[in-house]
Structures are given as C-alpha cells and as structure tokens.
Symmetry: C2
Subunit: 233 residues, 2 copies
C-alpha cells in the first residue's frame, strides 16, 4: 500500500485513530485490489485467508444451503470491514455487487497486527457490535415482518446506509439513490421471491410513496408513510 494517510476511507475505517507510524506499518501489510461486479473474494466454508477494508463499492455477505437456497446476511459499504478474523474457516461468502476497491490483508498478518494494537481491535469490536445489532434487526424482519413491511424497511435502510457515504449537505440524496441489488438479490436479502419483490415495489409506486425511473434508481416521495409501513401491521 502506498500511502494510507491519503485513503478516502481514512477517517471512517477501523484504521482511523492509529498513530502515523502504526498506520504505515499496517499499510505495509495491505494491498489494494480491484474486484469486478459478481466476483467473489471470500468463499463460504473455505479457509479464511483474507480480510479487507472496503474503499469503494458495495458487496454482499451470503450463506447458502446444499440445494442452492441462498440468504444474503449482510451488505457492506465503503469503510466497512469484511472477512472473518480469528477463525479458521469463513462461514460465509463475500461477493461484489458493484465494481469495488478493497484494501486486503492476509488474515494471519491482520490477526497478528490486531493483537498488538488494542486501538485497532477496539474499533473492530465496535464495528462488530454494530454489525450484530444490524443482523438482529434483520432477524426481526425475517421472522416477523410482512412482505410490504420488508420492502419498506429495505428502502429506508438503503437510503440511510448509502446516505452515510456521500456528503451530508445534500438532503435530497437521502431520498434518491441507486439500489446496488437486482430483484433476485433483494429477494435473497428479504427472504422473499423475485415476484413478490416486484409486486410490492409496484404497489408502493402506484400508491405514490416512491418512484422507480429505472431498474436501479429509487426516489422516495413520502418518507414518513414509508417509515410507518416499515413498522406497523
């Protein structure tokens, strides 16, 4: 890695807060890697060889069953951390949903560095706790919410998570974004079929809560009603 101090996610990734010399030591261990849409960087059930920070792009974390049923168990954005440190095998796959740029470490090198730098481990702990909160929130969605509630929740979640990325000046950007997922992937994330996803989106559109100028683009017209929908029966 050339120069971490210039990294675009410098202040948000887990490396934030490291001292300059620590940062450059970590930089020695990492390398930048571009990955194309659809490319898998971590395989479920395989030895966990690498971990990484996401610099740009969006990736999915997924688990699947022997017969091919797949569940997306996480969506990862720039400045997020991917991979499974401190464990022999990775219980899930990580696949790029868009072209992406990663800052990759071998797991063993990262594990070692991490143990010697409590500040880094602390950041990683906080991030893992947040990820656990999000996973549990999603368990509530998968276990108890209706199809309509799931779609509304997804749109709001995507809006906020994508919004955290850009500059905060533009309030409109919150209500207007590109979904990094196609319909099948939305289904795999929400525990629904592609047909149900399509029907629910059409319904929201016809009710005027959202607009869908094209496949990926979403415009939220009535955020408060969408929020109500996401939570109530």
């Amino acid at each position: 890695m050339k120069d971490c101090s210039q990294c675009v996610v410098r202040n948000r990734a887990i490396c934030a807060g490291l001292l300059p010399d620590e940062l450059s030591a970590l930089g020695q261990l990492g390398r930048k890697q571009m990955v194309g849409r659809g490319q898998t960087v971590v395989w479920e059930g395989e030895e966990s060889l690498i971990v990484a920070n996401v610099i740009a792009g969006v990736l999915k974390v997924s688990m699947s069953m022997a017969d091919g049923r797949e569940q997306i168990v996480g969506v990862v954005f720039p400045s997020d951390f991917i991979g499974r440190p401190f464990g022999k095998d990775s219980p899930y796959s990580v696949t790029a949903l868009t072209d992406a740029e990663l800052c990759v470490f071998t797991r063993s090198a990262f594990d070692g560095f991490s143990r010697e730098h409590p500040e880094l481990e602390h950041k990683l702990l906080r991030r893992t706790l947040e990820e656990l909160d999000r996973a549990r929130e999603w368990m509530l969605l998968l276990g108890k919410k209706s199809a309509g509630e799931r779609i509304a929740t997804l749109l709001l979640e995507m809006s906020t998570r994508l919004g955290e990325q850009g500059c905060h000046a533009d309030i409109n950007s919150l209500n207007q974004f590109d979904l990094p997922l196609d319909r099948q992937q939305i289904g795999d994330l929400l525990g629904l079929t592609i047909e149900t996803v399509s029907r629910q989106l059409t319904k929201l559109k016809s009710q005027g809560l959202i607009a869908l100028p094209d496949r990926k683009h979403v415009i939220i017209h009535d955020r408060s009603r969408l929020t109500q929908l996401a939570m109530a029966a």
Copy 2:
C-alpha cells in the same frame, strides 16, 4: 464480588486469561445477582446501564415491534456475555428463561475497564464475532428454511449448546436435554406460530426421530436423520 478465582465459569467466560490482579480488580466492579424466570434485566430501547456474564441459567435476547410481535434474536448460556457495551441504548431486551445467576457490571465501569485491558477486549471481540456468526446462521434459517427444517435445526442447536455446558464424558447427555423454552418461545425464535411448532414436534415424534416424555424434555433417537432434515428440502 468475593472471589472470581472460584467462579464456575472462570475458565470459559471473557474474564478467562486475565492476570490474578486484573481479575481481582474486575471482581471489585462486579456483583452477583440472582434473577428469577421471566425477569427482564435489560430493556429494549432503554439506556444500556449494565452488562453481565452469565454464571448459571439461560436467558433470551429479544426485539419487538410496536404492535407486540416479538422475535427472539439470541439465547444465552452460562459463560456467555450479555448487554451492549460501547453504546448508549440497548437495541434489545434480555430476559431470564430459567432462574439465573449473573455477574453484573455497570456498563460505564465495564467499558472503562475493557479499554484498559486489551486481553479482555480481545476475548469480547472473539465472542461477538461468534455471536454474529450464529445470528447470520439464524438469518438463513428465518429467510429460507421450512418449518420442519427449522425445528430440526433448533433441536440440534440446543443439543450442542447445552452439551457445551456439562461435562463431555457423557455422550448421552447430548441426545437428552430439557428445552429452556416453552412452545410460544420456540415459535418466537423460529419465526413460527405455536401451533406449527407443536405440529412439527408431533410429526418428528411420530416418525420416531425424537421422543418427548414431557413438555420440556427432548430425547433425540436418530441424530443423523435429524441432521439431514435440518439441511435438506
């Protein structure tokens, strides 16, 4: 706390690995607390005031919606850690499923101690990563598995997690245990209704895979078939 070195979960809880003087310093911050079945020790949405190690008993971690729908998002056993460190509010409730014994810390005292003891934070990180793996495994269950697969998965999961508790000498104990959950709670954990849970258990019983001598007690007769059921269509 009197003497952590005598604690029954001494070698399995996150405090394992602390030096004697660190352990006694941590002991100064904690106090033992007995909680009765049904008692809630952490409230969803409230300020996160305490964290704790479980010494004895089983507790549930749950989230609920405005209209009362509830999802159990975690089940916690002796030596496990509960509460949400490093965060203002707790996103979930923690409630005792059986009478339980906890080693309780104020969150602020624990947060401070934790930051000064990297070994403790490291243990907490590993535990949180494991909990995240379990949560994601459960997302696969909630998003993609049929009622029959869910029940089979639950029985096997309970068998192993309860098995980790006792001595490992007795192999039979793995195939014979008391469920700490009633039917309603099983439903809230699996995203099913109480009736569906009952029907699926009856089905497994009539197929001879399990026996149910009373409400809580489960005997697994055919673990391999149950395992197949848990994973296949």
